[in-house]
């Protein structure tokens, strides 16, 4: 099949014809096909598990470079000293028992025509369908002065792990009275409310441990997720937190690491601790597979998550262009389950159902103060769109008991989703 743009109907027709003409020997052997999933996060691990659950005859191989997954949701709590990093860590033992075949080696090359994935350990994996859930990479060319070396002084902490601990140590080492400067990128990026939850929890840490300190968020946007909820809470809880919007000169245009300074068109902000959340793109393997477009992200069919650029390759999670769905762990998990069902149907020559998806994102403004945004989504006009009336944030005037309840639900969500994906 040529790697040209194919409408879904044409594609399904071709797939059905293929099912008729090609895989009879495989069917005779009782084989359900081979699926390779690259990326063992909320999207990839969920997808691998659910494909296996829906059709145990399919051979599913999960390719992941790291033996331990470190979750980003709740990692802002690690930065603020509210939890340990090991509460974010998950292994793949239970997936191996499903059984999903584990390949703990990075994907180094993808041949979408020959339908193979090559790994760092030299293994070459053939596939009938490939699912990519590779997450994000930092655009190291996206912010002048912000290099990989610079991230050792000014951590991004936008991939959980050593960077998370580095930012925490820097906050712990800072004198009371110091200035923390954060920068938030333009859309799109992983976890739209994430910078503001982080600012809140760092402000909580400063308020309780270093009350003479202040926090400035320099933003490349004029609006952000759950904005009024965050700003109302900041006004009530964190007078030392200042948000500088794009139109107020908040866009960081370069960083001067030697001077520990973030530079905007309007001035220079010297920091004692600097947290730069830089521009991002789909992780590099997406480019190698030819599924990322000029934006750096991956256009997909809204019903199957199949790439619009390469047949037989699906993309879920943060790397995908999922229309109205935000780049969240909840979204990645929901998309992965829809993608799993579609992959099984397509392998069997069937046509996937029209899906419906939910996203729920909690943010903690303080340990006992949670807020949420939710949405229900469906394919419409070739994109993933919100179902009218379903999308919204927590009530602006809710009592503290409701905020406490949402903080409990946030913690519950993390336990439940990590149990479904890794437990």
């Amino acid at each position: 099949m040529a790697a040209k743009r194919t409408s879904r109907r044409q594609f399904l027709k071709t797939a059905a014809a293929g099912a008729a003409l090609l895989p009879l020997p495989a069917i005779a052997q009782g084989a359900g096909g081979r699926v390779v999933v690259v990326g063992g996060g909320f999207g990839g691990a969920s997808c691998a598990r659910f494909i296996k659950r829906i059709d145990p005859r399919i051979t599913v191989t999960l390719v992941e470079a790291n033996p331990t997954f470190i979750a980003c949701p709740f990692s802002n709590g690690v930065i603020a000293g509210l939890r340990d990093l090991n509460a974010q860590e998950f292994g793949y033992d239970k997936l191996a028992a499903d059984p999903v075949v584990l390949q703990l080696s990075p994907g180094t090359a993808i041949d979408p025509q020959g339908r193979t994935v090559t790994l760092g350990n030299g293994t070459r994996l053939p596939y009938d369908r490939l699912v990519l859930s590779p997450g994000i990479d930092i655009r190291w060319d996206g912010l002048p002065g912000y290099t990989e070396a610079a991230a050792e002084r000014m951590p991004h902490a936008w991939k959980a792990g050593e960077q998370t601990l580095l930012l925490r140590r820097q906050l712990e080492a800072m004198d009371d009275g110091g200035t923390v400067v954060m920068s938030a990128p333009a859309n799109p990026f992983r976890c739209p409310p994430g910078p503001y939850e982080r600012a809140s929890l760092i402000a909580y840490y400063l308020k309780t441990k270093k009350p003479k300190s202040k926090l400035i968020i320099l933003d490349a946007k004029d609006a952000f997720s759950k904005q009024r909820l965050f700003q109302n809470a900041w006004k009530a809880l964190y007078p030392n937190l200042e948000w500088v919007s794009l139109s107020s000169g908040g866009k960081v245009t370069s960083v001067d690491v030697a001077a520990m300074t973030l530079v905007t068109d309007f001035g220079r902000h010297k920091a004692d601790v600097a947290n730069v959340i830089p521009p991002q793109k789909a992780a590099r393997i997406a480019e190698m597979a030819g599924v990322a477009d000029r934006t750096g992200w991956c256009p997909i069919d809204p019903a199957t998550f199949e790439s619009k650029l390469q047949p037989n390759v699906h993309v879920v999670g943060d790397a995908s262009i999922a229309g109205a769905m935000p780049k969240s762990a909840f979204s990645a998990n929901a998309q992965a389950k829809v993608c799993a069902a579609a992959v099984v149907k397509l392998l069997a020559g069937g046509s996937p159902d029209e899906p419906k998806l939910i996203n729920t994102c909690y943010s903690l403004v303080a340990p006992d103060y949670g807020i949420s945004i939710v949405g229900v989504y469906r394919p419409a006009d070739g994109q993933i769109k919100e179902v009218e009336g379903s999308t919204g944030v927590s009530a602006l005037d809710a009592p503290s008991s409701t905020r406490a309840l949402e903080a409990t639900f946030a913690n519950d969500w993390f336990k439940t989703i990590t149990n479904e994906v890794f437990g």
Partner: protein, 101 residues
């Protein structure tokens, strides 16, 4: 293309892979699999959020209607309920009712 041959082969594929039980994840109606992001599918998750597996479908439908109308106070379910039609809720409730541990 020989249409009969396609139909026969596709039917064969379905016969050979049609092993899933009536209530398995293969038969989950639209939206159902998203619920387990918060409502634990497994008994092992210890949370305050109710499980849907094995619940009486009529109870799930009634709860969703009460969330949608605002009759039951909620944090997120009032918003989520508005994203589903009555028929979609019924299908999801029936599927969860048929799930077993």
């Amino acid at each position: 293309m020989n249409a009969t041959r396609v139909v026969t082969a596709v039917a064969l594929v379905f016969t050979l892979t049609g092993h899933a039980s009536a209530a398995g994840p293969a038969d989950a109606p639209p939206g159902a699999l998203s619920c387990s992001g918060c409502h634990p599918a497994a008994r092992t998750a210890q949370t305050t959020v109710s499980r849907l597996v094995g619940r009486n479908p009529a109870d799930i439908v009634a709860a969703m209607q009460a969330f949608k109308s605002g009759q039951t106070p909620a944090t997120v379910m009032d918003r989520i309920a508005k994203g589903f039609s009555d028929d979609e809720v019924k299908a999801i409730a029936a599927w969860y009712g048929a799930q077993k541990d």
